[in-house]
Symmetry: C2
Subunit: 421 residues, 2 copies
């Protein structure tokens, strides 16, 4: 017998027919002898509908009443799933955020989960009742309803799993796991059996479709084992095995043969800013990046050219495309101080990252990357590295080619039946 948390997203809860399928998956786990808590999202599209109502009613609010409105989406699906389960003869009840309660802190509409009172919950689960919990919400110590910000249901699920010491947190979604890269780019992308928390965080641009980053960070901190798997199975059928997201030590214990590189993540949301002919002077770089940092603009890659003997340097850096206009304005405002000659920018760039815990212990990982890209004539505009990631900035047009080339270079291509590989 295990104690598990199952989490279902908006597409899994979109309408009573889909919710019945979900109830079937829950019932399977109960019949296998498990204690089950389920965390649900609102029906797909419902939160958008409610958010729009709020914006129409009053665009600027402190979030307290916004939370009252948008928290209803998950309340509806929690009640409906409990109804479906009861209708199948499976004891169940909904536990609203204020009923447990799930304590929250911070600001309304972007609250953080605090203490979760689990006494009633675990007692009910031990009594054989499925606990259905609306995700994305909790209660402030003022007694007001609070929500966690968009995508918060994954975080709710991980927090509940941590609080009740669940053996596993199964996050059901519309994909069947985490892949080595986007299967729309590389047909031979492979579903991963295991990924470490750290890798999952670095693969965010691939993983964003699968899991909210915040929930992965929380799972890593609390040691919650996550499985990502699909809820799109025929009614009554078992789901196929998904991807486990766990700590590095658990994977080491399995003594599995792992690839050096776990996944390849393309990201087309960066923009490149170039400052030409900056006088080489102490404090110049601080004058550039200080204002960006104050404006919470996340500068990712930075490349400074060496001086060419004329005491002038060039500087290039990337920012999220959404922040480009603001970044340019901030740098222009400091032009006299910095003393650069001219600024250009380029949104037709892409960042391609290779991620893998294995690269810590392997030399030559970067060389393989640079060689593979050079062989196809793909120019590298900038490079950034972390312990388990190497990112290169390239021209946007080459993104898919670069991902495919690297996928093959690191031996990630799935074997295709009946084909040489």
């Amino acid at each position: 017998m295990a104690r598990i948390v199952m989490k279902f997203g908006g597409t899994s809860m979109a309408g009573t027919e889909r919710i019945r399928t979900v109830a079937g998956l829950v019932k399977r786990e109960v019949e296998a002898g498990n204690e089950v808590a389920v965390v649900v999202s609102a029906m797909a599209g419902e939160t958008d509908r409610l958010v729009n109502f709020c914006r129409e009613a009053a665009p600027d609010s402190d979030g307290t009443e916004y939370d009252v409105v948008v928290a209803t989406g998950e309340q509806v699906t929690a009640g409906l799933l409990a109804l479906c389960l009861q209708g199948m003869g499976c004891p169940a009840r909904s536990w609203l955020g204020w009923q447990l309660p799930i304590g929250t802190t911070g600001r309304h509409a972007r609250a953080r989960i605090g203490e979760i009172d689990t006494d009633a919950l675990t007692a009910a689960m031990a009594g054989g009742s499925v606990a259905v919990i609306p995700g994305f919400q909790g209660m402030m110590d003022t007694g007001r309803v609070a929500t966690l910000g968009r995508g918060g249901s994954d975080t709710s699920a991980v927090a509940v799993a941590a609080a009740i010491h669940a053996d596993r947190c199964d996050i059901y979604t519309d994909v069947d796991g985490v892949y080595t890269t986007d299967p729309r780019i590389v047909a031979r992308a492979r579903k991963l059996d295991y990924v470490t928390y750290e890798e999952m965080l670095e693969l965010a641009s691939v993983g964003a479709k699968v899991l909210q980053t915040r929930s992965v960070g929380l799972a890593m901190k609390m040691g919650v084992r996550i499985q990502v798997l699909t809820s799109f199975v025929e009614y009554g059928m078992a789901p196929t095995r998904g991807t486990m997201i766990v700590g590095e030590s658990e994977i080491e214990d399995l003594k599995m043969e792992r690839h050096i590189i776990t996944g390849i993540a393309p990201d087309k949301n960066e923009a490149l800013v170039m400052l030409i002919d900056i006088p080489e002077r102490a404090g110049n770089v601080a004058d550039i990046f200080g204002p960006l940092s104050e404006a919470h603009i996340n500068v990712d890659m930075i490349v400074q050219t060496p001086t060419r003997g004329d005491d002038l340097i060039d500087l290039m850096f990337t920012v999220p495309q959404a922040d480009l206009a603001q970044a340019i304005a901030l740098v222009e405002a400091a032009k006299d101080k910095i003393g650069y000659d001219r600024m250009t920018h380029n949104t037709h760039v892409a960042k391609v990252s290779i991620v893998g815990v294995g690269m810590k212990s392997h030399a030559g990982v970067a060389t393989t990357m640079f060689d593979a890209l050079a062989a196809r004539g793909i120019e590298i505009l900038a490079i950034a590295t972390s312990e388990i990631k190497i990112s290169v900035l390239i021209e946007e047009d080459y993104t898919e080619l670069a991902v495919r080339v690297l996928h093959t270079a690191y031996g990630l291509d799935a074997e295709v039946e009946g084909a040489d590989s």
Copy 2:
């Protein structure tokens, strides 16, 4: 300064544009120096949508999870109205059923309001904040969300008004008051300035579109003064005076000239059942009506023909059309016991009622009715009377004619400008 409760129905809350109009009406009352609590319904159509979800999920449930789902409709509008008010610079907050709490008793999905804790509410109102309360819901002493059954928001408003000793409970709807009769039948129907609780209850078939019967009964019991008025005014404009529903003594104190008859109510929802040739025997009537009563079928009018010398009588009675099939089955099941010869029924009948507190002190009210109908050749199939109501059963085709004839006979026709009246 007065303390008032304002209640807005589903058509008044249908979309943010309408909710903004409602907020304007609330703000007017606040700026006039009043303490205001607002009770809101869900957006028109929303409760139906939620009820359908529940039926699809599990047709037979004990109502606990159904309540979790359907209570969200009013939570959404309560939050949105509070948001709108805040956006207009009018302090406001929503108070959900579990936050006050509004205690409920009885069964889920058809709960009754019990104790309402008003300490936090009145403190907030005294502090200048508008209290926005979702109607139709409360909390059981199990801590579970409960709803009052369809149309329960009027009852919520009256209960809140009673609990906070409000000077008035203004119920805003899509009509501008209570009329002497249905204006679609009689063009010269008049809006009433005052109606007693008892008259309002008897005028239910006219009033059904306006007020839930249960709320009128509660208002009578608790002495809550109700005003029915329309929320369909241009933004920023004052609403026109509606109809006050109050106790008889308040109307007497006004020393107004009142008509003997207050209103005329047609009702096409009754069906007539006739039992022919029943042996005249003690206990026979009990054998007929006992089973109907046990099945909660409301028998309204009963007429027994005198014996014709052959010790056989005929009996006719009316039941709601919705219950006709069940009523027939129950009587047929008791046929041997009752010993009647044959049973017929007729759904093409209508009940027309004249209602007025004034008839208590005036003789000849019934005669005027019978004479007026006879003059138009309208046959009376049955008669039933109460202290302030006389009902006649007639052929359905004559309904509108009968209502017009009686409206004129009792002097209720409005004066039309430029016309002789």
